[in-house]
Symmetry: C2
Subunit: 180 residues, 2 copies
């Protein structure tokens, strides 16, 4: 039976702009295995599957530095220090798109990558969103808004035009919420 490993040593190697890198020395309680492991610590993230009043999904197109390419995603971002995750989701939706909603549902919490990342992504559903303001983008953000039907969103996943794992996981959580 698998058990949690025991931490022998933790070294905080460095801070990136959006993560902290730790080296962990851990040992298995089952035998004498002992090794060094990478751990990337990030703030929690939030994602929002947001439908406007016409039932269209609000998507964000942006340049992403990891893949060095444009992507189509759902709105989301990092939770600020001490911020409530739902307020964070509402803030990210408003900042990135200018839309807001008074009907919010929690779809679930997924792990970014439990193998070496510490954080979760809390996924929300926002219904009947209205355009209530302009975008309030971070200094380094450029975001175009796309409104698409749910069928078109699914087709874009099938065709590989939407590829972000957290976005596709959000769709799965939504499908469970819709058809429990």
């Amino acid at each position: 039976m698998i058990k949690k490993w025991i931490e022998k040593e933790s070294q905080h190697v460095l801070n990136g702009r959006i993560f902290r890198y730790h080296k962990k020395r851990r040992t298995s309680p089952q035998d004498d295995k002992e090794g060094n492991f990478d751990v990337i610590e990030c703030f929690p993230w939030v994602n929002v599957l947001a439908f406007d009043e016409a039932g269209k999904l609000i998507l964000v197109e942006q340049y992403r530095h990891g893949v060095d390419d444009l992507t189509l995603e759902i709105p989301g971002g990092a939770v600020n220090h001490g911020e409530d995750v739902k307020l964070s989701a509402q803030r990210e939706l408003l900042e990135e798109t200018g839309y807001s909603s008074d009907e919010w549902h929690f779809l679930g919490n997924v792990q970014a990558n439990p193998a070496f990342m510490t954080n979760d992504c809390s996924t929300f559903l926002a219904m009947n969103c209205k355009k209530t303001s302009d975008q309030k983008l971070d200094p380094m953000e450029e975001i175009d808004i796309h409104l698409v039907t749910l069928d078109s969103f699914k087709d874009k996943i099938k065709r590989g035009e939407i590829k972000h794992s957290l976005v596709i996981a959000a769709y799965a959580l939504y499908s469970f919420w819709k058809n429990p």
Copy 2:
């Protein structure tokens, strides 16, 4: 209209055990925005949704250093340098579970996290898997096998017992494959 940013400078900061960390200085072609961005480079990953001959899903339970906890996931791992992704998926399934299959389907490619990670996760479906060998675990791996029905797998996602975003994304890709 959003455009790709232009790289001004790239600094390879350090190598972790499973990633390389780069700092990128990039500028927007739209205006004079210029900033520094974290990029985490990983090898490509593979994931396998594997069903045994009785139609049960083959899951792996293991201790994960990122979340410092046990997780239930589908088999998968990192593609070796120069390795074909399908062979990698077949190798990971065999090594982690001892199962193999002669019916493989490609479900799709998802991005780990395009915001700051470079890599994809290629997701495969393996049908009618047979137990053909013992596990061949890496020196630091401990893996218990669980066989569950697809309904139980879905329930575990709904209840938050399976939380890995790449695993949940794999389920979404499978549901599209099954009901195109």
